[in-house]
Amino acid sequence: MNIDDVSLLSRLKLSDTEKELFAGQLSKIIEYTEKLNELDTSGVEPTAHILPMNNVFREDKLRNSLPPDKALNNAPDREGFFYKVPKIIE
């Protein structure tokens, strides 16, 4: 595992100590999961959802939702009814 690549993919900065620690621990865990390769799973359907349930639809009708002020109440930074983030477009 290239820990710098995965750290960027995860949008998660790691310190050098963490990188070293995790690299060791994760390679042990990955090695452990390799025991799954003992099993021949050709032709076995993967299970993504455990209940025999398909798409659940509802009528396309307007319903009550959270008022914007309430929904934005936990925002670290906002302006009016918008979340405020650092400049994206140069």
């Binding site: 595992m1 995860s10 949008r11 998660l12 076995v44 929904a71 670290p76």
Partner: protein, 479 residues
Amino acid sequence: MTIEESKGAIDKGDITPSDLTNDLLQRISGVEEKLRAFVTVNSEEALIQVKMAEERLKKGGKQALQGIPIAVKDNICTEGFRTTCSSKILENFVPPYESTVTRKLKESGYILIGKTNLDEFAMGSSTENSAFGHTRNPWDISRVPGGSSGGSAAAVAADMCIAALGSDTGGSIRQPAAFCGVVGLKPTYGRVSRYGLVAFASSLDQIGPITKTVKDSAILLNIISGHDPYDSTSANLPVPDYTSVLGESIKGIKIGIPKEFFAKGLDSEVEDSVKKAVKELESLGALPVEISLPHTEYAVAVYYILATSEASSNLARYDGVKYGLRVEGKDLLDMYMKTREAGLGAEVKRRIILGTYALSSGYYDAFYKKAQQVRTLIKQDFDKAFEKVDAIVTPTTPTPAFKAGEKTNDPLQMYLADIFTISVNLAGVPGISIPCGFTSNNLPVGLQIIGKQFDEEMILKISYAYEQSTNWHKKKPPL
């Protein structure tokens, strides 16, 4: 006191809800320093809620939990009341909406006594991965209470609340219930709405009760179960009255004993207690049958691929934009990276990294798809077993509560603490842990009873029969 007892006492006028709440708040202030079971104690608001409950009672209110103080794991959203997931990233998060389970408890008249500690985002087996202190085991404070619902289990065991809610993704209700000597039920996937439960691994997460008795477990399950339009994975099936089967005979009921659960690594005192429990069930008329769940040894590997993959996706929302902590950076990417670095703890970071890796291009088939295929094999093991038996009986955990700090440096050893509970989540079936004895060190041992999908009645019935013929649940920790 149990829910049943406190309701009886309130109805008879032997105790008022105010007295009950005050007694518990006093108990909490007496032992909380040692146990750290709570993230937030609802000392002030609870007393207001209880006055309102008393008003309703005076007017003849007959709700199931009128004035009864219950603790809720701090990853279940309570409107207007801080919900942290024991994470720095949500330290000041106040949910703008109520989870379905707590809405149902509210409608039943409960008092929210506090929000309990957990492993950050429910990731862990010892409640040592909390940003707000480590919970300790009431039976021996040098030991862990289990996890991730360790705060809820410790609070119930130590009489800091009447009952509690937990959540269970790989054993997080049953394992701490076993370690703390209380009753913990993980319902069938889809039995209880997950709306407002902060998502960890959405295909495995389920909310359930942690209680002092089996009866209380059935009472709470009655309230929280059922279809919810806000959770499209909740099952649209009728909810039976789970208390109505309690007391029925278990004569002739076939209980499967999977040989894979009695192998190397099982503590001999745990094994002894569980085997005695099986004998006891036999003497009550149950018929033990040896069965095999051949893919048991692969469950932990499957789980740690699927759960971390789902977590890496679910936790992407903690980016410093919509809620929670933000650490400023030189641009948007830098802000994301720094916010998550500062806000998340080591175990959560480890799992996000592992899950992102497992889902990344080129590795997906080898890890994620392979794990989903083995999940199918594990599910089929259960299907085959349930053709022959009505329920499956195992130890809940391979050992009793371990020492604090013992496994914190070895994540794989920590993961293996869940070896007996994980396959139940993978198969989506219900499982309960009930007290079945004590080790020579006076540590509780848990018996796990597993049922068919949506057959909580069977496991509650067996649990109740066992509980009524033993006294383990009456023992209290020496605090």
